[in-house]
Structures are given as C-alpha cells and as structure tokens.
C-alpha cells in the first residue's frame, strides 16, 4: 500500500494536485458548514456538539485528496479504464453535497429556484447529513482500496 502511494505521489504534479484538492475541499466544506466565516471578519470556530461533523469533513477531504489523484494517475499513466474514477468523484461529490446546509446560501438558491422539489432535496441532504457523509467516506475508502489493489497488479504487469 505504501509502495503504491509512493509510486503515485513521488510525482510532484500528483502531490500538488492532492494538496490542492485537500485544501480547496476542506476550506469549501468548512465555509458551507459554517465552521469558517470570511465576512465581515475571518473567523474559524467549532461550536459545541459539531465536533463529529467537523471530523467527517476532514476525513472526507483527506480521502478525496488521496483517491482522486490516484485515479487520475491510473488514467494518465497506465491508460486504463475510467471505471474507478466514477466512484471517487461520486463519493467526493455526495460527501460535499451533504455538507451544504439548507440554511445556507446554496440551500436558499436551490429552494428559491426549484420550489418544493428543491426544498425536499435540501431537507433530505440536511436531515441525513451525517449518514450521507459516512456513506461517502465508505465509498471513498472502498474506491481507495480497489485503486491500490489494481495499481499494484497493473504496475507489476506494466512496470515503468
């Protein structure tokens, strides 16, 4: 597993990509979930009782930052199928969507635009925010496992 990670992230471009994904996803989700405010002043805080939600955001961002570059590596370097890429993008997207609190501007825009359908979907994302995030983390973990396994095999078959 460590070897596979070394193969991918020894390439400077993939390390930069992973850092970029982690930072942008973490900051974006923390702003959406109101752990960070940028106006009128920059303030970061973790309200009491929201520590678990905060931890899930960090895990989700970390896993996305690992899995997405690994799958891009598979596509670019090994010219392999794009099948596993779907799982990582889907996991990241679903996990991120679950963080978009319906109280926030995103929820307001969706509800205002799509009416009751938008309200129902936002209510679902808000009501099941934690389980959806856990499911997204599970999906990313599975994709990570499958990617590492296939990279091991493929790298052995097609050594560079």
């Amino acid at each position: 597993m460590v070897e596979t990670l070394k193969i991918v992230f020894s390439n400077f471009q993939y390390s930069i990509l992973a850092i970029g994904i982690f930072v942008s996803m973490l900051i974006g989700l923390l702003i959406l979930s109101e752990f960070i405010f940028i106006e009128p002043y920059f303030i970061a805080h973790i309200p009491q009782g929201t520590e678990f939600g905060f931890s899930l955001i960090v895990i989700l961002s970390g896993l996305s930052a690992l899995v997405l570059p690994m799958n891009i590596y598979r596509i670019n370097i090994l010219k392999n199928s794009k099948g596993k890429m779907g799982g990582s993008v889907f996991g990241s997207f679903i996990g991120a969507a679950a963080g978009a609190c319906s109280c926030g501007p995103v929820g307001f825009a969706i509800i205002s635009t799509f009416g009751s359908v938008g309200a129902t979907s936002m209510a679902f994302l808000t009501n099941y925010e934690i389980p959806i995030r856990i499911a997204a983390i599970g999906l990313l973990a599975l994709t990570y496992y499958a990617t590492v396994k296939s990279l091991k095999v493929e790298c052995k078959l097609k050594p560079r």
Binding site: E34, F37, E39, P40, Y41, I43, H45, P47, Q48, G49, T50, C101, S102, C103, G104, P105, G107, F108, A109, I111, S112, S116, A119, M122, A123, T126, N127
Partner: protein
Amino acid sequence: MKKKGVIIGAIVAIITIGLIATYSSSTETVNLDMGRTHGDVSTAMGSPILGDPSAPITIVEFGDFQCHACYNWFHTHKPAIYEDYIATGKANLVFVDLAFLGRDSPIASQAAYCAEDQERYWDYHDLLYNSQEPKIDNGWANSESLKNFAFSLGLDMDLFESCLDSGKYSKRVQYNVSEAKKHNARATPTFIIVGPDDQQEQFQGGQPYSTFKKIMDNMI
C-alpha cells in the same frame, strides 16, 4: 313607547355584537407600529423588540425556526450577546421571519405571533428553539406540535388555536420574508446590525460572539 325602546335597544345590541365580532376576527390585537424601521429595514411586522427599545444598537435577525444554524447560534452565542449587550441596554434585538426551509416553517412563525397576542412571543420563540429537532418537517413544528407548545406555556388555547387555524398572521410572515429578500438575506440566520447613526453592517451565518462584539463596540 316601551316597544320602540326595546327595538332600538335590540338594534344597538346587534350592531355592537357585530362590531366586536368583526373587530376581533380581522384586526391584530398587538400594538403593531406600522412605521417601525431600523436603519432601512422595515421591522413593523417583525417580532416585538427584545430589550430596551431605545437602545442605541439594534440587531435584526432574519431567521427560520427550523434552521439548524439559527439553533446553534441561539444556544451557543446569543446568551453572551444577551447578557453583555441586550440586558445592559446597549442593544436590542428584533426577529424577522425568513421562513423558507420547509412547509412547517411559516406555520411556526405564525404560531409565535399568535403567542404574541397573549404577550408571550419571546417565551414561545425560545421554546421553539429549545424544542427544535434535527430533521426538517418531521412533525416537530406542525400545527399539532405548535399547539402543544402553546399549551405547555399555559396560553389561552381557544385564542391560540383560533389564531393559528385561521392563518391570521400568514400575511405578516409573508411580508417579513419579502422584507428579508429585499435586503438580500439569502441564508438563515442573516443579521443586520444597525448603529446609533443608522450605520448598518450585514452578514450571514450564525457567527460567534466575537463578530458581534467587534461590530457593536465599533458602533458605540
């Protein structure tokens, strides 16, 4: 002559009863100040003022009773703001409904105004935020639950139920939502802090005490 007096008496009684009935069903019994504004925000249809009405600073909160961020702010940051600014007469607070999250949101807002009819708006407001459940529209704020909350506060249930069932304050809530949208409130809670010279600072989210302190200390 006696017969004539009875007829006149009956007519006067009928007119009086008619006037009372009309008046009680169509007029809000609260002291609405239709010209009440804070900065450029019309708060005429909003909540009663929490704190000293003549305080130099007014915090206008656009909120939804089903909003989790409002719930977090209510429990985590509002108590310190109340203690340091509202209770000391430095600031007051008005709640204006931006009830958009679910089908029960506008009804919850209307119920709070029905409680205002019995001069218990803030008790009812606080009870709703103390009773909020994590799931939107799961029934915790439906009509039946709202009546149970009123009962637990010891409100006159005949008055409360007739107020809620008649939708007496639905237009008031709609007005508040349109006022919120007019001021570009696109999230709950959104705050507008209005200072003594009508200077305004608007921001989104259930921001911590330190944000309010910085803004208000600069205004005083």
